[in-house]
Symmetry: D3
Subunit: 340 residues, 6 copies
């Protein structure tokens, strides 16, 4: 069986219950999250073999986070221990016109301060078919981009397929820093997930006529961007999720996969959101599931869109859907009838 390795940050996620604001919260729900970890958990829930690599401090909070990965079946044998802290990620869930708010406290984390030698990459990649990372990982510190580049180089040498979600985060690095790093990484990447904003800010590739905040989606713009990326970097697949925020409670959701010079659009879902955080990661997981299982492009993008639609009907960042549940939504009508 194919096996995916994810590499990135892993944080404690704290959020007030229900729709309470931070100022009202007397207790926080405790979860653990990270873009690549979320992809691993999602794939593991679908029955795939996964291994998550990060660096964590030796304390009971980190231990609880690792236990949660194990719970959902993700391999944790190559996590490095050391450094000073685990990042914390606070989320306040929005509703209707009130946006969700997040407060990051992830600086100085053990992973941000890692070196290439903290990990036994040879052992990590042995037996793996896929390596996944997001643009968040190299943004964690000044020194980690080199770790990422070396890891991709190693993965490539060992024959792994490399996937990456650009995921530009303006509070972690500048556009210039992102561009400097990501353009070095792009040649290694086979499968890229990127929205228009990412593409423009990180790769300088611009879509025509799209204004995301106005909620209008420009299908041709997406195709155009994907095409440019493939041509510039030789990327094999470019995928993008198409979200239209009607409010913090209701979103339209679909996705596009560009491969072999052709765009493939998924069916569109009108999602009444339970928790939208992690939607993008579950999409990537769905995409990789399709790719790793040899699905065709249309089948792949439908699976990925359905998987990420389901994620957003669940609490917390992890998509806990099984492959069967995703396939049932792909095949079905999304009418949500009780399954007795």
């Amino acid at each position: 069986m194919k096996k995916m390795v994810g590499f990135g940050d892993y944080m404690l996620r704290l959020n007030p219950e229900g729709y309470l604001r931070f100022l009202q919260a007397d207790r926080f729900l405790v979860n653990y999250t990270g873009a690549e970890a979320n992809v691993c958990v999602s794939l593991a829930m679908m029955g795939m073999d996964t291994d998550f690599v990060t660096r964590l401090p030796e304390n009971d909070i980190a231990a609880a986070g690792v236990a949660q990965l194990r719970k959902f079946g993700v391999g944790t044998g190559h996590i490095a221990y050391g450094g000073e802290r685990m990042g914390v990620f606070y989320v306040e869930k929005g509703a209707s016109q009130r946006p969700s708010k997040v407060v990051y406290d992830r600086k100085y984390s053990s992973i941000a301060q890692c070196s290439y030698e903290d990990f036994d990459w040879e052992a990590i990649f042995a037996g793996a078919s896929n390596f996944h990372m997001t643009g968040i990982t190299p943004a964690l510190s000044k020194t980690i981009p080199q770790v990422c580049i070396q890891a991709c180089k190693k993965a490539k040498e060992m024959g792994l397929t490399i996937s990456c979600d650009l995921n530009y985060r303006k509070n972690l690095w500048t556009e210039a820093e992102a561009k400097a790093c990501m353009t070095q990484l792009m040649p290694y990447i086979d499968i890229l997930v990127a929205n228009e904003e990412d593409a423009e800010k990180v790769l300088g590739i611009k879509a025509r006529d799209t204004d995301v905040t106005q909620g209008k989606l420009n299908r041709e713009g997406y195709v155009d961007v994907a095409e440019q990326i493939c041509q510039t970097y030789g990327t094999k697949m470019v995928a993008v999720t198409l979200r239209r925020s009607i409010s913090a409670s209701d979103n339209e959701w679909s996705a596009m996969l560009y491969t072999g010079g052709q765009p493939y659009f998924s069916r569109q879902y009108m999602v009444h959101l339970v928790d939208r955080v992690g939607g993008g990661d579950s999409f990537t997981a769905g995409l990789l599931y399709g790719v790793m299982n040899g699905y065709g492009p249309q089948e792949t993008i439908e699976y990925a869109a359905a998987a990420s639609c389901l994620k957003q009907t669940m609490e917390m960042d992890f998509n806990l859907s099984t492959a069967d549940e995703v396939k049932r939504l792909v095949a079905g009508d999304g009418s949500g009838r009780v399954q007795r």
Copy 2:
């Protein structure tokens, strides 16, 4: 005053809080449920006299379940004690495209293993005007259908009006088993609640041109089925709820009553669901409330539809609406303004 007797299973209902999945739940909300018990509670809340008959093991969990019936005013004096266990019913609430999931663990329950002699039917039916059962009760074991048939016979002898909700459950028995039993029961039944799927699978009566999973409702088909049932079995009233699942969060809801050769359709509600489980039972309770209070058919079906609409805006299986609350919805606009 009229008095209704319900007979059937009574289970512990466990569900994660909010929209959590089973895999995420570290605590379950504790309730007790059963199709006929739900009808009893609903009628009791509306001020009617009810008595619920079942068989339960002698332990503290069953005792807590009985206490809950008492809390809502249902008579529990004829419950038989013995046998090995109380069934458990796990519910995971769906949202948007994610369907609710249920796990039943009701086999080998005390009620499934009951005999006719476990109950003092003479005393149970004394002073009662109505007897209610669903198609779930005879499905509980190989031996219980005879208990049901004998109980109906006895009820009929003692002059009670008998109502039944077909409620076919494919995980409890086969269509053939259901048909074998229910066609024996049908002659005793005065008031039948049945959807098209039930009618076809259990009675072999088929509606034309309806495909429930596509969400389209075929009004003529319902009338046709009801008419056939009345003609075949001499049933006095056939009622059906008309649900269109837009998603696990939003449903259209209305109902039809066929009696005296005429169909009566209720107003239609667009329900933003809080918990849809128990919707059918609350409909039956509303129907019986109308019948037991001498309402005309249109008034009855409006009351029943409003009652079951309200149920679905509440947590758990019980409809805790008073008759006043239901009448206010029937009379009002459903705009949900605060009642100060």
Copy 3:
């Protein structure tokens, strides 16, 4: 900086968790509320200086309520202590067709039994620019109207701008009692918040062609009523919120400000409600924020509408929005995208 003084009742608010009904609740969420206190908290959260004046018994429950005001930055130094009790306000949150229900237990409260001398009005109004009260305060007892009238007289003498939300509550006093009191108060009031029902019942000023329960809003009617009020009492500003209840879960929400002989209408929001209680108070706070900061009428009504829209996406009666958050909604698209 300008400073607002609020005067009124302050109650313990108890409500079941989520959508549970009173009958199902084994715990109540604990909050504290009062129409004028809500306005103070909202303004304090927006960075304004506020002071809340009430009368409370000397016990630990009242102390906890005062601590909550302090938490949100409201001045509590002029609260009088004495009397027998603090009112209690029970709220059961509705959903879809099921209306929210409230049970008031506010009679015999310390504030209802206060006298003018219980408070040091000279000190209270020193340094303040605005005095705010609602029609609920004089409705609390037979004796308190005189306290209110004297307080307004004093505030006027000391040069404060006086605002009032008519807020007619039929369970507190009759229309005749309300009219007798409020027509005496009207000459002192500079800024009035009043809906059509209030205006008709309390001031006898009637709008043409409006039937609120049918959910239709009559814009001209509102303008007409506001105009009549300004002409009759010399009121400088009349504002009104325009709510159309689609259901207990979804409401259309906008507002109108009439000043200088002109009506100004805000943008309209389709709100998926989290908790609508306190919506009117947050509107008043938004209105006062605009007025106290010298906003023009259109800017003021947009701010007030946005503020109260946001309130309804939060749990409990307080609007915990900062001025920045409100301005972002005024400026933005209400699409509720995550704020990273």
Copy 4:
């Protein structure tokens, strides 16, 4: 079977979770309580027939309170409805050196404002063998003592045994008021529960050499007081609980019954407290259980002491012990081994 009727106040009890103080509580646990209601629930749990009589307002909070009585099997058919409010009782649980604190808000309750005619005493006492009241009931208002006296007179006429727990509450009435009322009631009372402080303050009967706050118990003093009461009022039984507070967490607990000129002391328990509120009521219930079932004095006092010991190991005011559980403690060793 014998049947007990209780008459008294019934309040909403609110308390923070665990050991949180009022100031820390963001939610209150919801229960309902009242000295006589507690006795009824306890007896009902032990399988006895009981009926609780009070007066409550017609609102959803009172309805929830009544449902709770029904849940535990207490008859609620003679509760009168009307008046303005239900009392509220706030409890903060102490620990170690920190005492529990209670805040009462029970004034102006529906029961306090009742009249003798609000109840159908003839029907209430028909078929009953015992009538129970505490000294709290006549303390609720200036007018209710007459209702209590008339009710006792009626009960006596109809042949019921009357029991009373003196339960002097200094925050409800003065010693003079208590004495004026209770000395009129004493001649009707067959079974009296009274501690030394009660006896002295209410009846003017003083025990020698006891100082409760020093934690020393004076066995002879209790016997002496009981003897005096029996001689003065012809009381048949006088019982008293003997609590030594070591801390808010640990108490020594035993009891004495004086009857037929003889004192009977129970075994002594060292109780690690879960919730001590309601301990006295559960003792009275145990006492009445013994009396109503024809137990001898030693057996009665052992049962009563064990019952009230168990109550204090449970949360909330109700003793939810079955008679079997109490008997097992009487017979056993109190070592608390798991019951499999």
Copy 5:
């Protein structure tokens, strides 16, 4: 590294929060438990390699149970799927004189209905050094004793050390049934955990002068019983825990290991109980930890006693102590000072 395989039942454990009784619970805490699973989790937490073998139905509740084992690091790769249900185990926590109560609903479980062929024993035992079972497993049904005996035979053939906790449960089988089965199993068992009651009822080996319910412990009796067992069955080690229940809140706790003809007693702990369920299993885990790591008998029994002491200061059945934490208690003073 050595590896332990456990085989037995695995149930859903449900218990009310804190000290609430079943009748008061509106939510149950959700955990999963089983005597052998508890031993596996405890050993895994201490860093040992473990694998737990059972049979579970294919549903989401069982899946959640398996995820919990994975969370704590227990191997779940040899669990068989099939059958009808997972057992349920309800626990109500006692306090002071009130004993804990348990309600078992474990009949007809998938594991009870298993056959030897459901498991690939060759693969299960490959690479394992220890096999552990308790007397509960063969008690689950009439057919499972043969599975147990065959499994032990196989384990013996493959050179594993076999350990067993007699754990006689009178509600699962009779003494005669237990004796019939266990005497067949005894010859395979190298390490036996058994208290006096077990030894007498299951093996017919009686200790002199001990009456557990009186709370007196008879050290010589234990030695005598252990000696007899070793002589009769050639058992290498017999261990027993010595619990003296002072109340449901406080217990004295120590242990004895008999091996090589000598008894070794551990230090004694006075435990203020948090949750005593699972205490015996954590003792066995501690014992096996010592044995598997080559500890001497005194060191082993101290470790086992300390481990199980710590378990009883934690909620739920699992001992979540690390080996370091246990060793710190063995070395230290048990004074519970904060570890900063």
Copy 6:
């Protein structure tokens, strides 16, 4: 009135509910804490004027922490904003032999990175009588000791009394670092709180014959140490708490004040712990309360010991006792009888 200024760290405190371990927690209780902030809150609850000075990042989590200080009446007007993060402090509550565990994540906090100029010390100390700090503050970073020393110098110049709790934390700095800094600070300190371990490690002053881990307390040793401190540094008062940990659940607690060449010992309490964290801070607050209110030494130490005894019977780090409650314990018997 006198006014106390505290200066130090302020962290988010997260802890699992009840006795759950980190590994079991799915939610954390949210509080805010810091040694000096705890002293401020405690004094504010007792009615004293306090102001807390720290430096916090500008985000919603810090804002919630500040709101909590305001809630309890502490002045927050001089808090500086800037820097990167607020520290996090995880606490797992121990029980019986299981010690509490804490995980600190306080490095790189805004306060650790502050400079003297971040604060307007002139304004801060204006009108204040007391300045309080602990040995934790200078331990937060390499640069903050200078800020502390300058602040003390400034406070001294402005005539404030300075108090300090040595509070040596080995995970923050080495003994050498502590000594280097604290010996510079000592000359400014009027009132010192220090246990033997602190005195030895930080000041190099050693007590004879004390071994804290053996739980024996050496009264003469304490006197000796205090005397040496006063002689060496001219300190006016040295106070120490005397804790004997019997277990994580039960502690003996008393205190000693050395002043004017004389030791004063308080009464001793046997505390059944609810939460011991913050015990020392509440002692300091009690001490300062006595000093600021002109109490004599015996009265002061009794008040301080009682205050800190009460703190340990409450959840979380803050002592929420009023001065009345403390005085009642000083005067009373600690028997924890209900306060009605």
